[in-house]
Point group: D2
Chain length 416, copies 4
Amino acid sequence: MLWETDELVKDSVLSYTQEETILEQKLLPYDLLGTAAHAKMLESQGYLEKGELEEVMEKLSEMYDEQHEIEGEDVHTFIEEKVTEYTDAGKKIHTGRSRNDQVVIATRLLMKDSCIEISLELLELVKELGEFAENENQPIPGYTHQQQAMPSSTGLWASSYVDALVDDLKLLQSAYEVIDQNPLGAAAGYGTVLDIDRDKTTKLLGFKSKQENPIYCVNRGKHELMLLQALNHVMLDVQKLSEDLINFSEDQKFFDIPKEFCTGSSIMPQKKNPDVLEIARAKADEVASHEHAIRSIIGKLPHGYNRDTQQTKKPLVESIGTTLATLEILADLVAELEVSDSFEIHDDIHAADTANKMVEDDLSFREAYQEVKQKQEYCSGDSIKEPVHQQYVELEKFWKAEKSSFERTKESLLDS
Amino acid sequence: MLWETDELVKDSVLSYTQEETILEQKLLPYDLLGTAAHAKMLESQGYLEKGELEEVMEKLSEMYDEQHEIEGEDVHTFIEEKVTEYTDAGKKIHTGRSRNDQVVIATRLLMKDSCIEISLELLELVKELGEFAENENQPIPGYTHQQQAMPSSTGLWASSYVDALVDDLKLLQSAYEVIDQNPLGAAAGYGTVLDIDRDKTTKLLGFKSKQENPIYCVNRGKHELMLLQALNHVMLDVQKLSEDLINFSEDQKFFDIPKEFCTGSSIMPQKKNPDVLEIARAKADEVASHEHAIRSIIGKLPHGYNRDTQQTKKPLVESIGTTLATLEILADLVAELEVSDSFEIHDDIHAADTANKMVEDDLSFREAYQEVKQKQEYCSGDSIKEPVHQQYVELEKFWKAEKSSFERTKESLLDS
Amino acid sequence: MLWETDELVKDSVLSYTQEETILEQKLLPYDLLGTAAHAKMLESQGYLEKGELEEVMEKLSEMYDEQHEIEGEDVHTFIEEKVTEYTDAGKKIHTGRSRNDQVVIATRLLMKDSCIEISLELLELVKELGEFAENENQPIPGYTHQQQAMPSSTGLWASSYVDALVDDLKLLQSAYEVIDQNPLGAAAGYGTVLDIDRDKTTKLLGFKSKQENPIYCVNRGKHELMLLQALNHVMLDVQKLSEDLINFSEDQKFFDIPKEFCTGSSIMPQKKNPDVLEIARAKADEVASHEHAIRSIIGKLPHGYNRDTQQTKKPLVESIGTTLATLEILADLVAELEVSDSFEIHDDIHAADTANKMVEDDLSFREAYQEVKQKQEYCSGDSIKEPVHQQYVELEKFWKAEKSSFERTKESLLDS
Amino acid sequence: MLWETDELVKDSVLSYTQEETILEQKLLPYDLLGTAAHAKMLESQGYLEKGELEEVMEKLSEMYDEQHEIEGEDVHTFIEEKVTEYTDAGKKIHTGRSRNDQVVIATRLLMKDSCIEISLELLELVKELGEFAENENQPIPGYTHQQQAMPSSTGLWASSYVDALVDDLKLLQSAYEVIDQNPLGAAAGYGTVLDIDRDKTTKLLGFKSKQENPIYCVNRGKHELMLLQALNHVMLDVQKLSEDLINFSEDQKFFDIPKEFCTGSSIMPQKKNPDVLEIARAKADEVASHEHAIRSIIGKLPHGYNRDTQQTKKPLVESIGTTLATLEILADLVAELEVSDSFEIHDDIHAADTANKMVEDDLSFREAYQEVKQKQEYCSGDSIKEPVHQQYVELEKFWKAEKSSFERTKESLLDS
């Protein structure tokens, strides 16, 4: 322990309070990036010799490339210990920095990186839905109150998800832009008397700006909550999409779920079950619960670092993984989706249009409505409804540029 | 009932499924605006005579000015009935529009308006905190793990809330910009065969753009969730602020809560209780639960309108009211806040700075840390820490401009 | 204000911290009962003259019978003021009691009473489902993965809800039995030096036992949470029942929802919408969110009374009302439910039974499974599956006995 | 795969839909118990020869003793495959049973076992708190509104948690009693045409009764929710206890948290942080979120098995582990807890008692209240308040008996 002393801390206390290693492992590359930036800044401020910096960077780069398995207390101690084994300069890399600092900067970089990956994967799903809408457009009934209600089309339906998911891309961008502030340099939340240069690390780490107030910098969980809220929206739409796909392929028979996405039953030989969609539907609620967990954990905490906030890491990391995996498999599934050739469309879905056409012939709508209701005769449908959704070219550009920028930051920090 | 027929619907069914009148009442001005825009568009498309439009607008303006109390089924039926009593043209204002349409456009306008009001009120709180930070800056200990830990100041502390709340203003802006799409014209979710002009209503109602896909337009709850997520962040910060103020004014004695914000006890004559802050702390959890309610209600619903979504209105309206009331009273309270003149600061909060100063004298931080730990002698503190937070001039401009724009839209639609 | 002094408390503070009158009104009868019991005890302990008690009881009984509309600060102050207007002895009824005491005892009685009402209403729904299962038993397919899977029956299906709801009755009973402890006498949470007799009020108010620890007595929200958790289960089952009824009456066509429970569309003349079931489905999520609200509000509060807990009253009262209303209308609906005469059952739901029959002929199940899977020939179905569920006679007796007991308590306290 | 056929199911589909092995592993002993009971029943019904049963039991017992690491699809398939490798009779053990059946019975046994363990651990914490209350009783101020308010004692305070946690033991018992129904025999949710004997497996597995309706038997998640609700209460009290302990040992200085339960800071050499209590406080919110997750996942699902319900396993298993670990460490901590010898008690906490004593001298309470308020002179305190809480002997007996009974069931099924 970095803070170890003569007092014996119980093992049970350590095992109870430390996090699962798998979570620590996720932070390793990002903590290495943060440490590299901090070390370079220390050197430029005179706290580290040039030669010391070189040795430190050698070890950090090696650890980055080899992705060591973490041992010991946590990822932050692990890095400091490994570097110190390699060079005495390791003892100085904690100068002007606290573990809070370390975990906050590592988590912030993890969030930026994950946000980029998720947005690019979401763009894949958006494109598959858009292509399906264009290429497989056929008439289906549109539902209200879970009843056939109005003429619709597979294209209109699929493009409604494009429209929703593009809004989610905007929400991801907003969360990303608020997250994109450098918290490094807050130390234990009250800054440091040492002469560190926060603008320098901001630039080295590729942040748009530095986060100003040190107390706010260590207010862990708030930025995590922002990202989780955006993921909640993504998964909400995925849940609705899954619900529709299950209904469309079961009772309503509009679609065939590709066989390679279905599983069987151990007892009923005839079954083809849409398990992927059911699991996706459930995982959306997991992400919503993770948002709830983070909000609850940080709620009512007084200012300054509190250990409670450590527990926000697990719901964050799990939600990122869940969302990515779900988007990937759904994009695959939509790419293979086929419209069925036999299902029944009720005649009365044209009732409203029939009334509307009477309005064109100068009846008031209320009168037309009553007449159609009594006669129950419907004019036949129109031409097929075309897909329609907002554009997302700018969003695509944004995420691709951020991806490149993040890659460049990594390279310039550690790959030289 | 607009859809009433010979069949008798049970009264208990109607009372069970209809909303509280107080919620309907909130939508009245916004439904009138939506109806006015729709009517003007109908006239320009030839579905309404010029004279008919004039009569309709007369009645809508009168209802807007007088804010009638709603009777009957709901606000949408109420408006149609009142206009139809006044002029036969009333029968035509539902042309090319469904109740879904009406409620969606009215709710969207309510959300825009509320978002503006809340942001302006939040700016008031931000300013009060900023002024307190500048004018009442005094040394206090900064806490970690709910212990005195490092030297801090009332200015550094108060400006940490400015920094956080400015991030919330950005989140409100993001939600606002996604909400700011015109859904009017989706009819029952599948468009209409009538020749309506959605660009016209978009312009008349002052939306930045129209929401493209009609199925997505009637997907109620998603935009409500966006706003609630932003309000959840605002109230999360308010909750932390309240927690700090309670701690600071009770056990820690840094602040005096102004007497006019405290209440007494029915049994203990000596008490001065910070009820406002306790209630604010609880109300933050109410808003979080309302977000949860909306997310749950809309979860797993298939595409197309489902009546379930009506139940998103109550948590939306209540959260808006709660947030506004809380911001108002906290801005007042902060304006009156005073730093107490007698509290104790522990000497050992200077331990880290003492170690840091040894680092300046060329010890490694780990060695300095151990030395301070053993000697327990601390150098005295620095000069007072200054407040620091990000700027928000652009955000202030944005919200003031939106306020003006919304006012102009109302005037041009109804006050002529 | 009972605690009013020279200091001016801001009106905005009072309006922000006080509850909606409608919530206070709900507590009036229960606070009167608690006050009556407290007054009787005060007399028997010598703090009130016999004649004083008689005057106090006259006024309390009158207020109970006439259900006055509350004015002023809150229900507790209202009662004290009204009694004091009537007799000077009113000034003494707060002796040995705090407002915390009052609100806790009133809420506890409200919860007991509501729990009885809800359980009896739930028994009505259980009976209607049981009768439907017996009288309208017809073959339907049973679903897995939202597909027709196995032979089932309307009786087996409906009795599965009986089985679940009877478990809920047990959960309600458990909650009730923990709630059924008398908290009166805790004063501000630390007892009183006055010689009050808590056993006496326990007996007068019909509680099974007194709640021992005064700090725990004023720990508001925990018992509310217990009741809400049971209601959450009731509404969860109601939600699933509603989902099934919607599916069965729409795409699957097994049932006809009675017309008097359906509403129409303002734009589509042909629609008959199952709004009651959609609203019930949403209201289940409201109750779940109210449980969440109470849990969050009381979470992390330190010991002793905190004003935050006042905010648990609204989700409590609303959930009780919502659950009662939902059970009533669903019992009505189930009473009118009819099985449709035309729907299609897939042949392959007999696949598992076909394999099972081969097992009777001595094939291992895995071999039979593979053979059925390849041949796709199915033996025809069995006789209809009979309804089956656990008994609930004892639960019915319990709730009826509690109802009588509560009525007797009310009468003996106030109707003499 | 048990249901594998010619169709190629994508690997990504399998990895997306299957659970983490660690969760499967937890179910292994319970699935072995369920399988043993099912096999014994099959033999007594003539579906298995006596010799076949013996071979099957040999393998099941061996697997139980050795706790193999699971490979392959899931725990259920793993057991069937391992037994079938050992004896051809393995092919028959799925007779009259589905995987739903298997998972439901295994989960039910896991819940029973965990509920017993948690209750016994909770009793340990209850005893430690009770002993602390008796042995370390000293005056402290009691708080309201986070202010010193009334005379209290460490004994009164600690016994308030005994009182609350004993209520939780009742809630655990209620949940346990509803959970304690045997679901085995429901097959895929609609029973089986084979002549199985559900009463036999009920007896063999030590259930109090069989769960009657097969559709309800496979309604996964509802019983999990019951257990989680009880755990939520346990952790809610633990959270409040932690909050108090943090306040008491930090600002209020009533207690000293034993050093071996505290951790240090990497940057501030002087710190002793109560991390255990902060983590416990956060973990309470995790359990609350897990309850929320289960409720959300099962909400709105139609009748019959849906794959979504698989996702209830993780929050269940994690909440059980979290609760157990938290109770263990807190019982340890309370056992070492000491009252500090120097803290300040405000004089005015005797104000209410001063007024009450005037009441004994025949002033009305309202008049005494005003007099004390003006004079601000207080009589000195009473003798120390004694601990008080409800008894829990019967609960202790219950849980110990259930523990023995569960042990006997395991032995008689697998250790012969």
